[in-house]
Symmetry: D2
Subunit: 370 residues, 4 copies
């Protein structure tokens, strides 16, 4: 494969992140085919053209189907709102293109299952944009868990908190409508679940609570009921019997990009916080008793593929670099290399857990994951 | 009241903490009656005598009833295992003594209710040893909440974690037997609940999960089932509608005395961790947007009664100082002054919540607090 | 200017950083001319060709003069060892090219002065690769200082520490020879000085100490004297009268990329550490006295140009992103826009301070900066 | 020795700290003679009587000589301003009493040397109130250094910063007069020097800089020149050849009790900050390379004598507890036990270094310690 032709649908937050990754993946890794930025699609010809120029894409269309049809396109980045994911992924896969689709898969489990079916039928690579797990430190944590450095894991806590919904004076938005899903559960909860899938495996059952910090928000016509829940907490059991929970808030003043992991094992513990994504903490009982303590370990070239970005330790990767790593993994998968990432096969595990959590909340009881 | 005569039953971890507090409260505060260390009781005459000498008590007895009967004793510190609390508290109150009893009240709710009844009948001061809430910073957080500095609180998370049960190789102990209670729920959970009672008020309902990281432990005769749960997580609702949870672990390697609070309001957030008990964090939206961030605020003389210990800020109180403050509050209550602390009246709220959590765990559903 | 043609000399640590920046600057900022990656030069044709392919450059040469002569090249990135900077910068400027040269300017002050002369004579843009100061947070700190948020600055401390020379068992290397300069002074010291030039202005006098943690290192022929100093501390006065110091170590085990600033003013303080480059701390006396504390402020879209990389706060930039910002500033300067960065005019202030510090060390006394 | 009779001169910040220590040392340690609080002296009979009652002393005098003469007094705590230290220490030692004198020894070196001479002549125990070094963690750091855990130490940095002089609007005080000494050098610098004496040994030479952040302060009669320096930085060499510096500020907004140590060795590093006195950081190269990082080690019973205060790890000592430990060490020395602490013999090393630093500042050159 001499060139990988890229189609990009959407040019917002995640669209730009994909564009940056496609621009950087070659020079950063130096071991990939030439990347051809073939075709960018967005809501209008004009917008698409402007963004294509900014991001370095050759062609531009106001109709996303043109991107998928483009014979120069081998892989399609889907970065539109999740209600469009099913249709676009189905079309791209049917057209024989690989798919890199942003998370979550779809607004409901049925759609997600259809996306999985389409991926299976196509035989193409179909992966999801769970970038946080691509942090070299997260991969290193996985390695430490596999090596048994902290022994068998028996308890896991993950919190994901931001504050963009924290202002009670902010007006009612479209995303406060139930049509957009559960709220924090599917918007945020899927990220902690991507860590669980990556580090520990499957969730076996959940007990879910949700809450609305601000039950109503103002509109020009008066207050309106908020239909989604900005707070969610999910008690859970993993397949191996370990217990734990996930807690998410979109109304946590002061939290900007917190994803805090606490992993407890029989011989040690590991903690991590996405807001300080270039470090993690490790406690091991093999240290001498009088000097046991959490080590703060900075990301370094020994934590591949940090070395592809910077040859010196402790200098720091950024959020966008994670997307570049994810992109390299996608390319690896296309090339048949061992790769890390959440495929549609694994993504469906996340979606099923979300669906079970939603049911659990409605019924006030534990729900098994099918 | 010229002198307060003190009786102390028990001289272990908490017994010594009480003794240190009774020794220090006078010189630290300088505004209390003379403290007379009258009588120390412990399991044997010999042990009691030795500890009385160490701690500066005049008399010593191997029979705790002698302490209670002693006419020089006005207040009795009860620091024995909680299965003895009921009998001792009843006897002391019946004898017209004030009672300062370590937490939790009793191994079961029925006993705790009887202790409350005894306290009510006696008209004497009856308080519990919840020392963490006596931190001047916790009192200051209460002040900030009352002032509305972070707006109305809508979500609370409290974790309490230590690792003294974390070693899977440690043998079966008596405390692994069901007769000792639930495990983390009553051993640890009461502390987070003491924060809730102090800062926010009452819990209205709970959904509780428990887990055993190590279901069996070895004995000389082979492995034996562990009957208590070292892990507990409690989803909860407060009376004001706020949501939250409490999570406790006695098997969290690396955590030594962690009690981590996260309090989220409509205008800001507050966090605190007992392992760094001389600081707390405050985020307020009233700061200019480009410089909003969590402030790390060090304990200082402005946070009364820190000033009674040290006239300079940031120099640090210790765990035992909290007991001295608690002691001063107890004395204040005896003298009819406004006082902070968990009386039997408030302690019963904690015990009822524990009982409801236990029921919730057994039934796998939300349980209302009566 | 429709296209900016780029020549890159060198493809090591900094060469790759420049290449990544030139690849990303367009898609990140979206407001620059098209970037033409014209010509990459390195030590051999083969190496140059391979790196040109990796980094996306059109042409490649084993002779750096071909890069400078290339009519498609408008600006030359010089990332070779600093002993080559003078010759390359002179040639590039003489050929009418803009120059982006890595720090420090040259191994000695005389060469640096000649570089400045060449830049002045050419009328071209000539800037240095001081990337740390391009952090949006550093720019924001500059803004806060200008606004007087912490009052007049009276004391500054900057430490820069890494540990790549910390192993006493590591063998003698070429960089331990005096021909490579002072050691920590010119290798590291220039970075703290770039912060001083950016944030506070000029240094008026210095008193410098240097030390060798390991005076000898092994060679195959036996131990050899280390001729450079891995430790340097510089007491200093700024033109405004403020005092302070710079301390650098290349042998500080555990420090990986630490550049720790402490800035003290009449109304507050600011601290920063490059190892946590997405946050800084601010203490202001205008906060209410009982809640004064250092705020930890996370980088956010309000801290331009963070917003060009990520629209959400607290998600984190990386080391390479700073180079992309530096690149954008260079382009701005070429386009006649207001720009931030260390030009040769400012760089010479740094070099003169380094020279004065060297003299101070040799003479054991304070030395004024000319 | 059945009872140790205590005399206390002064009842301010440090006087109360001594009183609390004398009250607590028995119950905390349980292995000391009975402590008899015999006699408290202060500026007036009335004040002395009031404080004696608060602190539990039997007798009280408005004349400190009565304390020293009291036959029930075996040891005298001197906590008055340092200009009185010489006279009081001489008198107490001449009267055959042991002396526990607050730091620094005296306003000038000559007085300090006379105090040492008096101590030598008396044969009595004469120790200084350097409490920070009594932290169990500092003792543990000493142990680690002795064991070679971080290899030979080659560089040390110590900062001590507070902000009680940071407000430029605060009026001129008596302590701004030159008669009170150098300023930060003798007020603060002696504490970092006490760490050096305790952990590393002697300073061989110094190069000192001082600065005045606010050269004048207001009085009712107009501005007046400040005669002391609130900022001091001391470059230094230790006897073993290691380099380092001490930096102190009394005008560092936001610093409340910071004493930050950074100790660098051939095999690792140690850091510590008094503002978080219950933890220190250790980096060792013996950890596996991919998981090397600074461990945050919490104080615990394994760090004697923490265990005498609390049997559980991570619960936290306070500032006053350090004084209690210091008191126990003083008693140990009286009883002929191995003891930690700064005697007059070691204190003079600190005073000589202060004098050399003062001379260095005046002369702008390095000064050897005699």
């Amino acid at each position: 494969m001499e060139t990988i032709g890229v189609g990009l649908i959407g040019s917002g937050f995640m669209g730009k992140a994909h564009a940056l990754a496609w621009n950087s993946v070659g020079p950063v890794f130096g071991d990939v085919p030439r990347i051809g930025l073939a075709h960018l699609g967005d809501a209008s010809d004009e917008l698409a053209r402007r963004k294509a120029d900014e991001f370095g894409f050759d062609r531009a269309s106001g109709d996303w189907r043109r991107v998928i049809e483009d014979p120069n396109v081998d892989v399609v980045s889907i970065t539109t709102p999740n209600k469009f994911h099913l249709e676009m992924a189905q079309a791209a896969l049917a057209a024989g293109k690989h798919v890199w689709c942003e998370k979550p898969m779809a607004p409901n489990l049925a759609d997600a299952e259809m996306m999985l079916a389409a991926a299976r039928a196509s035989g193409k690579v179909a992966v999801l944009g769970y970038n946080y797990i691509q942090n070299p430190l997260i991969r290193h944590i996985r390695r430490l868990l596999d090596e048994g450095v902290i022994g068998e894991v028996n308890h896991v806590r993950i919190e994901m908190d931001e504050d963009f919904m924290a202002d009670p004076e902010a007006p009612f938005q479209q995303r406060h409508e139930a049509a957009n899903g559960w709220g924090a559960l599917d918007d945020f909860g899927v990220h902690p679940l991507s860590f669980i899938v990556t580090l520990f495996g499957e969730v076996s059952k959940v007990m879910c609570d949700m809450a609305k910090p601000y039950p109503t928000r103002r509109t020009p016509e008066g207050d309106r009921d908020v239909e989604v829940h900005d707070l969610v907490t999910i008690l859970l059991r993993l397949n191996n019997g370990a217990s734990g929970f996930i807690a998410c808030s979109r109304t946590a003043w002061g939290r900007k990009g917190r994803i805090a992991l606490q992993i407890f094992g029989a011989k040690g513990s590991i903690t991590y916080d996405q807001e300080r994504m270039n470090e993690f903490q490790l406690y091991v009982t093999s240290d001498r008793e009088t000097e046991q303590g959490f080590r703060t370990i900075l990301s370094a070239p020994q934590h591949a593929p940090y070395d592809r970005f910077i040859p010196a330790p402790g200098h720091g990767l950024g959020f966008n670099d994670l997307k570049t790593i994810e992109c390299r993994q996608l390319i690896g998968r296309i090339l048949g290399q061992d790769s890390v990432g959440i495929t549609f096969e694994q993504g469906i595990l996340i979606e099923r857990t979300v669906a079970a959590a939603g049911a659990s909340f409605l019924e006030g009881r534990w729900v098994d994951i099918a």
